[in-house]
Symmetry: C2
Subunit: 318 residues, 2 copies
């Protein structure tokens, strides 16, 4: 079995789930927690999963990266709204020549990490996961769980399949996680945005589930138009997303169970929204190539308004 | 004093207010009512107004156009969502060679009326009025009240100032209503949309007042972008709206008291929204000239979703 050690930065619905799977498979895993630190230190993690429930009665829990050992793989499982903390959090916990595995939504997060750490590999992971944190240290995994991995190098040039990717993929597969490898991380990220941009955005703005957006003719059409704008943005980065991929995403969503998107859950919980990673960065990437995405821009500005109102509320409630 | 008789189709916050002013000035006015018919027949109309309260203890009230006398001027003061009724309502009540005065928001409503009635003049009125119906036959006039009048001819060619416009304007002025005349109704209608499209649309979608939309930087910017798209639509009809007009509308709104738009009031009351008149018709006009307005289109599709949901609710509640 692998000797690689894992640090999980952000032990929530996503980081808690994948981290627990790794520990259950026998790997050496270290969890960073915030509000649940006391509880998880004493009681461990409970995973309720469609693939089988399990409990970890003892986990290595930390409330400060400086107390954590340096690890071979550092999994960034925070919301991107917390990424301003990474410059403080990453350097103490990553081994020289280690891997930063970024399990976040959106675009350009690897670029930000590359500015913080040297002499490490940066791997982006696109998670197709439906899970919620239902209580302290208590995670409910509802569906899916697959991760697509791709390595980042400067400028997002395609890397092919690298040795580091294989190593991390083997650990994750060993933990029962379905893994795909991509030679082109940037294409993978744009493809994920084809889904995330219309559904995350409109679900928040229109207070709607995916099935409602698809059953009304005008939002069904708007979703499709937004997907085509994402493909335009992708093209501005030299990555082609074909019509058939868009049609597949539409058909797939029609067949899905009614789904509350991750951004809608954040919004309902009055948490800051991942607007910049999912909307702002793609818009800026496209604009830097002279490409305007007016409907995504409209959605972005609407979300920024709603997000700002949440942040104002939260400041007032402190 | 004028001998012209007036029929008011739709005795709500707008039709009730202007109709009562005309009757108070001594004109012969006939009111069509629906839900308030019984009450107003007995008790008349109460106008609470910043320009002075007044009561009309007796009014000519009707619940059916067929019982109304034919009038010289028929004021269409329904919501545009009711315009499918006009083909039944207008012919019985309009005198030959009379005037249909359309006090509605949006674009292209005169074209629809022109298909219904012959041998009449059609005048469009752009109302800058802030009033609410607060109870049966009880109207609260909060602010403004000015009307800009322009005559419609086929194709919206500018008409200059016509004799019919002057006659109607004189009656309205005599009733204490501030009147402007425009030689170009279509330009007037597009100019009004510069305000209505961003503020009506975003106030509903984002659950916001005008002051909130203007105080957050991203919605402030989106409002401005939408205004420029309206100007593009206007240009596609050969009508030029300059930057300075847009800047004036922005400045004017910043200085306004916090305002709940008419569409937001309809939305909060779960009434059907005037989406087609204010958004759909301008989009179709521009598209017929090959001009795409992507951000207005985005807002339109969002509003159609919200409007459809209201209509579904209302059908279920019948």
């Amino acid at each position: 079995m692998s000797k690689r050690s894992y640090a999980i930065l952000g032990t929530g619905a996503l980081g808690g789930f994948y981290g627990a799977k790794l520990q259950k498979a026998g790997l050496d895993v270290h969890f960073l927690l915030k509000s649940d630190y006391e509880y998880v230190s004493k009681s461990g993690l409970v995973i309720e999963s469609k693939d089988g429930d399990f409990t970890l009665t003892q986990v290595n829990a930390y409330n400060n990266v400086k107390k954590m050992p340096q690890c071979d793989v550092v999994v960034v499982a925070l919301k991107t709204t917390q990424n301003h903390l990474l410059s403080q959090m990453l350097p103490p916990v990553i081994k020289d020549n280690g891997v930063v595995l970024i399990l976040q939504n959106g675009l350009a997060v690897e670029e930000e990490v590359a500015k913080i750490v040297d002499n490490v590999s940066i791997i982006g992971g696109l998670c197709f996961l439906c899970s919620n944190k239902v209580g302290p240290g208590h995670i409910h995994h509802l569906d899916y769980g697959q991760i697509t991995l791709g390595e980042y190098v400067f400028g997002y040039d395609p890397t092919g399949i690298t040795e580091k990717m294989r190593q991390v993929a083997n650990d994750l597969k060993h933990a029962g996680i379905s893994i795909e490898l991509t030679e082109d991380l940037l294409l993978g990220r744009w493809k994920k945005l084809v889904w995330n941009i219309p559904y995350n955005g409109l679900s928040v703005i229109l207070n709607a589930r995916t099935d409602e957006l698809m059953s009304y003719v005008h939002t069904r059409k708007l979703v499709e138009q937004l997907m085509y704008e994402v493909a335009l943005g992708s093209k501005s980065c030299g990555r082609i997303i074909g019509d058939s991929f868009i049609q597949t995403m539409l058909d797939y969503t029609v067949k899905m169970k009614p789904y509350r998107t991750s951004m809608k859950i954040d919004y309902d919980e009055r948490r800051p929204l991942e607007v910049e990673a999912i909307f702002g960065n793609p818009l800026r990437k496209a604009r830097s190539s002279g490409v305007d995405l007016p409907q995504i821009s409209c959605i972005y500005q609407q979300l920024k308004f709603l997000d700002e109102k949440i942040r104002v509320e939260n400041r007032q409630n402190v």
